[in-house]
């Protein structure tokens, strides 16, 4: 993930590099232009200009003139040599001579004392590009500039992205369901756009808090208000049944319908409550034991449909989870299996540890789904024979997701329907072979057992 900090930093660096590059290019182009100008120089004209200066200001004046010329054309040096070969300022003559115009003698000037000097115009450097020559290693300069600007840009980018990071931390906490989160006061006090954004988020959070609380209250009240008449209805039906008559089947029907309505209310209530991420407990528990216990709980219901469980449980697999919610998640899958498996069939329940992931597979011999098996996890979608609100497996998936896990379903043609739950195992369960806890009998835990529900 590219953070805002890195993006800002890279943007600053790019701008700096482009500025540096273009200024270098301009200097280089200037040097090139001067260099080509040298080719156009006329020694005769230079000599005439020098003669004029000599006439007006004497030998002393020529020094200033020569410096001016040097400044205009750093690549060119002008020498004045007398008949004995001595240079006017005792400089050593070097460089490449710029040829005089064809057919002309090298120009000469006359000093006020009558001495005759030959004017030699020499190109002393191919190209004077001071920038490069002063720091004779080009990388040094580039490196220096890059490191200074790199550091500067980094601090700038860090300063700019800091409030955004802080905002993000808070928003994340809010997203995890912690609606109590208060944004940093320093952030809220900012007068700029970020401060405004922080204020808006704070407002949104408190609104959300009120909304969630009132929804909670509403659901609780609605479920209470609905259940009171349901309880009376149920009792009234039972009391009517006691008075005899031939109303038996109709009253039974009323009883079943009441149970169905109750199941729907219960599921809606549970869906809204259990799937909230706050107050999620984290306890170390053995998934295999939990699975065995839940299977044991479901046995009474399964016996009614003549369905048996085949428990293929691995040894202890420890997970960090909320026991009651994880139990509910598994329970919903088992109930789904019991409802859809044909009477007399078996439901295979197995747990295993694969690469640090604790997995539970529940396979029934039912027909599965017609289309996409993922359909079963959508809330309020009901398969045939379902008597709830169609929330059971949706609850399962949400609970698994709260634990950082997944719930998936597959049609196994000819073999039935498989629901697989996966959640991260507690880190040490992979190294500890089988810690003996008071709740797990390790000896029988590793066995493949088909426990009989009959009483001892």
């Amino acid at each position: 993930m590219k953070s805002l900090f890195v993006q800002l930093w890279l943007a600053f660096l790019t701008v700096m590099a482009m500025t540096l590059g273009s200024s270098l290019a301009v200097s280089y182009a200037n040097a090139l232009r001067r260099s080509s100008d040298v080719e156009q120089l006329s020694p005769a004209l230079i000599a005439a200009s020098a003669q004029q200066t000599l006439d007006q200001k004497g030998v002393d004046g020529i020094t200033g003139w020569a410096l001016d010329e040097l400044h205009r054309q750093p690549e060119v040096q002008i020498y004045f040599v007398d008949s004995s070969g001595r240079e006017m300022f005792n400089r050593r003559v070097h460089g490449v001579s710029i040829p005089a115009e064809s057919g002309r003698q090298p120009p000469v000037v006359w000093a006020p004392d009558g001495t005759r000097y030959k004017v030699l115009v020499r190109r002393t450097h191919e190209l004077v590009f001071d920038f490069w020559t002063i720091l004779f290693r080009p990388w040094m300069l580039a490196g220096l500039i890059l490191s200074i600007s790199g550091f500067g840009c980094a601090s700038l980018a860090w300063l700019m992205s800091q409030p955004v990071r802080e905002l993000r931390r808070s928003v994340r906490a809010i997203a995890r369901g912690n609606l109590e989160t208060r944004l940093n006061d320093r952030l809220l006090a900012r007068g700029d756009e970020l401060g405004g954004l922080a204020g808006d988020i704070q407002q949104m959070t408190s609104d959300l808090q009120i909304l969630v609380a009132s929804r909670e209250l509403l659901l609780r009240n609605v479920s209470h208000e609905l259940r009171s008449p349901l309880t009376r209805l149920r009792l009234a039906a039972d009391l009517a049944g006691r008075q005899g008559g031939d109303q038996g089947p109709a009253l039974d029907r009323i009883g079943r319908e009441i149970e169905r309505i109750d199941a729907i209310i219960g599921q809606i209530l549970y869906f809204s409550r259990s799937t909230r991420p706050d107050d999620l407990a984290h306890e170390m528990l053995d998934l295999s034991t939990l699975l065995a216990e839940t299977v044991e709980d479901a046995r009474i219901e399964a016996d009614k449909n003549e369905i048996r469980f085949i428990l293929e449980s691995a040894k202890a697999i420890f997970v960090n989870a909320d026991e009651s919610r994880l139990r509910a998640a598994i329970e919903n899958v088992l109930r789904n299996g019991i409802r859809h498996a044909p009477p007399g069939s078996g439901i295979v329940v197995r747990s295993e540890l694969v690469d640090g992931i604790a997995k539970v597979q529940i396979v029934d011999e039912g027909d599965g789904t017609d289309g996409d098996p993922e359909w079963v996890f959508l809330p309020f979608r009901r398969g045939s024979g379902s008597d709830g609100a169609g929330l059971g497996l949706a609850i399962t998936r949400r609970i698994l997701e709260l634990h950082g896990g997944t719930a998936a379903a597959q049609n196994w043609p000819g073999r039935g329907f498989c629901v697989e739950l996966a959640l991260p195992a507690a880190s040490w369960s992979t190294v500890t072979p089988d810690p003996v806890t008071s709740r797990s009998e390790s000896a029988e835990a590793s066995q493949v057992s088909t426990v009989n529900a009959a009483d001892t």
Binding site: T289, S324, V436, S438
Partner: protein
Amino acid sequence: MMNRHPLAAGTRTDRSCILIVDDDVELGSMLVRLLKLEGLAAEFQSSSRDALHRHSQCPFDLLILDVMMPPPDGLEMLQQVRERGATPVLMLTARGDEDDRVRGLDLGADDYLAKPFGARELVARVKAILRRSPPTKTESEPLRLGSLSIEPSTMSAYLDGARIALTAAEFRVLDVLARSPGEIQSRDRLCRRALGRPLEAFDRSIDTHVSCIRRKLRLAQGAPMDIRSARGWGYMLVFAGGESG
């Protein structure tokens, strides 16, 4: 035995023996009618405050408390009732409110029933609770198991001579387990023998009672005495010191 029982119809005409407390007045009157049809005397109170007052004046034999009531709610009432004595309490909870259920059993409720419930279920629970209270002295002899001793006549358990505050239901669970240490008792059997009713689907009351007992007896894994779970199938009392001593 029924004749000996104070709740048998006709033996107590001066007052009701079951107190139903629920803010739902219509439900209350239906429950009273239902229990009368079963030959049980019942009285109804819609205010938990009045009910507590009534109970303190003249103790009832069984309280049926709705959890969700205007304060003091069923759980607070249960707490106050427990401070005064071991009157059996049946809690009425909303289905799906597992927390209320566990808290109720934790606070010493004898059993619970989820609303909406059927007449048969209610009558069965009420009769199961009344049957086992007051404790019958027939089967249970005092028992001593190392540092643990059990006194069925007073429904009390002692660990190293110190009395452990167990609820009636917890006492019976411990009693059943202690009668056959080292032997797995299935959850259904525990439920039948300690709570007087068969286990229901996804019913975790036995497990709540066991975890309460473990907490109260300060049982820890690795200790010489412990209640072990056999993977949802049942429980057994393991007592290393008992065999040697």
